[in-house]
């Protein structure tokens, strides 16, 4: 085995004790800094905005959105697809990198999985908020009821419900089991009685016994192997929500894989943003190093090329099929009212990431951060344009109409971002944000004393 420190994954001279200290001490021994409080307060304010918008939505009804009788899906569904895309990436990244034995995974997998949990939970809200009668969302659940009805099993919307519900539960279990040994470390290192009790309860009495580890490894690796097809199925079903509809720009066989790659792409961009944040808040610069950022930049570069290929294939198929409605749709996409947004999407998702061919850009955190944010904006544009381009130019010209978001559309989107910030800020202050027990496996033997 080559010494991993030679790859720059760990700081020179790292020991088991220094890894523990660099992850645990910012949480257990140090006060939150001013920047953390800033993120927390901004997140809290925006969360209140989100709750207020939700209250107004439930009180007033879905007329407060910009949706109209042609463009019946607007921001809520775009928000859903965007958030679930980000939500898919954490588990996908964690499982795939584990199965392919990528050693750099262990520094980022914990917060990538936390990102998944928060994003998937937020995503799950939007289809419900988008319902005219949200109090009846539980009708999707198959249960014996007095109406004698059952879900329509042939509908992608029902598959979606099963996919998201299974995925969220699966991700919670996977994340929690991976964190149990680290909760035990926190339990044993905590100075306060409350910390010992809370982390002690979360650790379930973990002792790191050989009997524990043998079972842990069996469970964790098998779950990773199950996680990859699960994630692929979840976002494929999101793609089928569109592809099963008989609309130009939607009814395409490329959708399931194209959605999965898009999810991985936007999720990795979000992981880059969160890695930069985690690194500066927890002072774990040593554990999340430039080598990690460079590896993620390479994956973003590969993702941008696949996205470019998908966009080109989509356009080519629409043109080559030769159907009037498809060609009208394409002309609208390239020259219509939202064309400037479409070209921004292409620029952000396909062309800007090409800068990652330059090694200096891959290793510059400010550049990475800017490009990652642009990718997330570009992916949001893709999700919203997917909806409004198609619905604005459907089969019946008499039904053509444009969409403009209202204040409430923006507040709910911004509020959900703030809620995510709030959850992530709490995560950084309460939970081991880097998987200590996995990072310690990289500590070379000679330096371990």
């Amino acid at each position: 085995m080559t010494a991993p420190s030679a790859l720059g994954l760990l700081p020179p001279g790292a020991t088991y004790a220094s890894v523990t200290a660099s992850v645990a001490d910012p949480v257990l021994r140090e006060q939150a800094g001013r920047r953390w409080w800033l993120v927390f307060v901004v997140g809290l304010v925006l969360t209140v905005v989100m709750l207020g918008s939700m209250f107004w939505l439930f009180y007033e009804g879905i007329g407060i959105f910009g949706n109209n009788t042609s463009v019946v899906w607007g921001y809520p569904i775009a928000n859903y697809v965007w958030w679930i895309g980000i939500g898919n990436a954490g588990t996908l990244i964690s499982c795939m990198l584990l199965l392919t034995r990528q050693k750099w995974r262990s520094s980022i997998n914990r917060f990538a999985e936390a990102m998944t949990l928060f994003a998937a939970a937020i995503a799950g809200l939007f289809p419900i908020l988008h319902l005219g009668r949200p109090m009846y969302f539980y009708w999707l659940v198959p249960y014996p009821n007095t109406m004698g009805t059952w879900p329509q099993w042939r509908s992608p919307l029902v598959w979606d419900f099963f996919a998201i519900a299974s995925y969220i539960i699966f991700s919670i279990v996977f994340w929690y089991v991976g964190a149990i040994p680290d909760f035990a470390t926190f339990r044993d290192r905590a100075k306060s009685r409350a910390g010992q009790l809370i982390y002690g309860a979360l650790a379930l009495g973990w002792r790191g016994s050989a009997r524990h580890w043998v079972r842990y490894e069996a469970f964790y690796h098998t779950m990773a192997a199950l996680g990859v097809p699960l994630v692929v199925s979840v976002h494929s079903v999101v793609g089928l929500d569109f592809a099963a509809g008989n609309m130009p720009g939607w009814q395409e066989t490329i959708f399931p894989p194209y959605f999965v790659v898009g999810a991985m792409f936007s999720g990795f961009a979000m992981v880059v943003v969160l890695a930069a944040v985690t690194r500066s808040f927890l002072k774990v610069e040593a554990l999340v190093s430039l080598h990690h950022f460079e590896a993620m930049a390479k994956i973003l570069l590969a993702g941008s090329i696949v996205m470019g290929l998908s966009y080109a294939t989509e356009a080519y198929q629409g043109w080559y099929a030769g159907d009037d409605v498809d060609r009208t749709f394409l002309a609208f996409q390239f020259h219509g009212a939202y064309a400037w947004l479409y070209w921004c999407q292409i620029a952000f998702n396909v062309f800007v990431p090409q800068l990652f061919w330059a090694p200096a850009i891959r290793r510059s955190i400010p550049a990475l951060l800017v490009i990652a944010v642009l990718i997330n904006v570009g992916m949001y544009l893709e999700r919203i344009l997917l909806i409004i381009n198609t619905l604005s130019r459907g089969h019946l010209p008499a039904e053509w109409s444009l969409f403009a978001p209202t204040l409430w559309d923006w507040l709910l989107l911004g509020g959900s971002l703030g809620f995510f910030m709030l959850l992530f800020a709490c995560f950084l202050r309460l939970v081991p944000a880097v998987s200590m027990h996995e990072v310690k496996q990289l500590v070379p033997a000679e330096a371990a004393a």
């Binding site: 004790a17 044993d188 002792r207 016994s209 050989a210 009997r211 079972r215 699960l230």
Partner: protein, 179 residues
Amino acid sequence: MSILLLAEFRDPQTLLAAARQTREATSFRVVDAFTPFSVEGMGALIDELPPNHVRLAILLGGIGGALSGLGLQLYSAVWALPIVTGGRPLASWPDFFFATFEMGILGAALCGFVALLWGCGLPRLHHPLFDLPQFERATQDRFFLAIEAGGADADDADDGGARLHLAGLGALSVARVPA
């Protein structure tokens, strides 16, 4: 009654070497090891490690989840609410595969989680080992080996040379585990 000794080591290599030495050269039983992370090859050096059923539980949970998902759909679509839509057969099984697959994965994950806890004997919030002050480093930076020493009449004074043996293998400390 035999006694249980807990030896503390600096790194996983010393721990593995000590476990191997103890198995090969002495009659002491290697009862368990406690490490901050999974040490490859440690499981094989423990005497009488109970069989690991986690993978089997995941398989059975997966099959059970998938069958109940498929059964639920067939029951509701064919028997409880038989509605023909678009001329498709009532039991349109290709459409039923999505929920079947998701339920299978969910069953596998939950069953595996229960098997993991069951096999580890968790949750068990307190354990006699936690009374040893040095044991709190077992989750941080030290590696522990538990061996069983002596015959029926072993006690602190007469451990059959186990303490000497462990010290010779590089143990930083050796302590008796309170029963």
